[in-house]
Amino acid sequence: MKTEFTQAELEQLEARFQARIDAEEKIEPKDWMPAGYRKNLVRQISQHAHSEVIGMQPEGNWITRAPSLHRKCVLLAKVQDEGGHGLYLYSATETLGVSREELIEALHEGVAKYASIFNYPALTWADIGAIGWLVDGAAIVNQVSLQRTSYGPYARGMVRICKEESFHQRQGYHIMMTLARGTAEQKAMAQDALDRFWWPSLMMFGPHDAESAHSAQSMKWKIKRQTNDELRQKYVDQSVRQAEVIGLTIPDPALKWNEARGHYDFGEIDWDEFNRVINGNGMCNRQRVAHHIKAHEDGAWVRDAIAAYESKKSRRAGAAAAQGEMSCQTI
């Protein structure tokens, strides 16, 4: 494929690319794409992939303590799904010419980000409910929108992920519902989890549109289909009713239905906290990355072993084939 272009050719390619996007056609791996589009995609998809993989930790921390065998199986299957989703997304990034190894290196070096929500600790069993209901709920709002993203492999990954994730939010809500209908102590545990996870879940949608560094360009390229604030509003609107049904209170005194807008008004996010956590100073940032680095390093000898075994095996197969040819000649 031709890789060097004159300025005029480049402009023509870009115009054709944008026309394709505007016509709602998907971009596929072998298509020409602007370097910025590729870079933006790699950033977003890998961030998404890392979020899935790091997201295994807060919930994984409860697998061995789940309160019933049923809940244990559900949680194990859910955390496994997160790993699977990370894998689908790494695959999508690989179609853009970046290997999983490079992405993991960027994560370990702190260059690549993941959703800041996973830097909050899961301290009680109710947190597992809150994470499923709120965190997966917020992720799904975002992901449903991304099913229409312009990059084909990413969009297809999202379709697959959305299909699998519908159970994640429901099982989380079911945990919260069970607690809310349980003893006073259980209900308090559920409310406490909601209190701690509500605001961080709103932060998952990122900064306000006006302050979002990548938003405008991402919208133009249709990498993102709805803005941070649009998605956040949608999430708030759906969550209020869900909290009411199980008698829990969303910790926001400013939360009020706005008849004129047809949406809920809600309070301002603590952006200092948001920036603090994004910049590495949340409760668990250090442990999350350290955990991933440790698992990766502990696994190095295993990966080396299978590579060594594989090359021995193919050498033996090669030798056997050569032997075979010789015996053919003798015959």
């Binding site: 295994m56 930790q57 309160p67 199986c73 496994q80 990966r303």
Partner: protein, 255 residues
Amino acid sequence: MSDSKLKEATRQYAIRLGDDALVLGHRLSEWCSNGPFLEEDLALTNVALDFIGRARMFYSYAAELAADGSTEDTYAYTRDCREFSNLLIHELPRGDFAFSMARQYLVDVYNLAYMEALRTSADGTLAAIADKAVKESRYHLRRSHDWMLRLGDGTDESRQRLQRAVDELWGYTPELFASDALEQGLADAGIGVDAATLRAAWEQAVSATLAEATLQQPAGDWEVSGGRRGLHTESLGHMLSELQFMQRAYPGLQW
């Protein structure tokens, strides 16, 4: 054995097999998010889910036989160390990847043969559980067998790790083939499996794999047992304190 005695023996037997599956499933579940790479993380979790699922079936059957309002969770969450009757090999801490895979291989060979035998049990429920377990175990064994070869015939480091794992595990394997009066009685009644009959084939299969994986077969000069009588390594108590944390901190609540 009288009918009621046989029923009680069958219940105990189901609990034993449930304990084996739960304790091993729990150890495997500890790998989730700790695997050497993502694909293996997912595969290990599937195996863990199979064993926990198997435990639930055995416990549920025990609860059904007891007909005293107990459930699968009663068995998993409200018994202490001395009441757990799993074979010791299942409870050993997961160790490194070589240790977990070596254990898995040794018990997969055993489990496949065991469940194939249990499939013909005169007890319909046990036979049905075994039928499902056989399919799972076939897959587990294919995986763990491949890992024995990959790690054994991989690098020097992987062979050393795997050899050490096999050496550390070896003394726990004779217990797999022991049986007591309860199991003997059930075997005579055509309900349970006489594990001793599986030993020769197990040894043959394991020896062949060890050789193929370029490993030394351990001398077999030590052995430890006691799981079926509730005599465990100290690690089980810690495992249970984690497994049963919620029931211990908030007794009797539904979650």
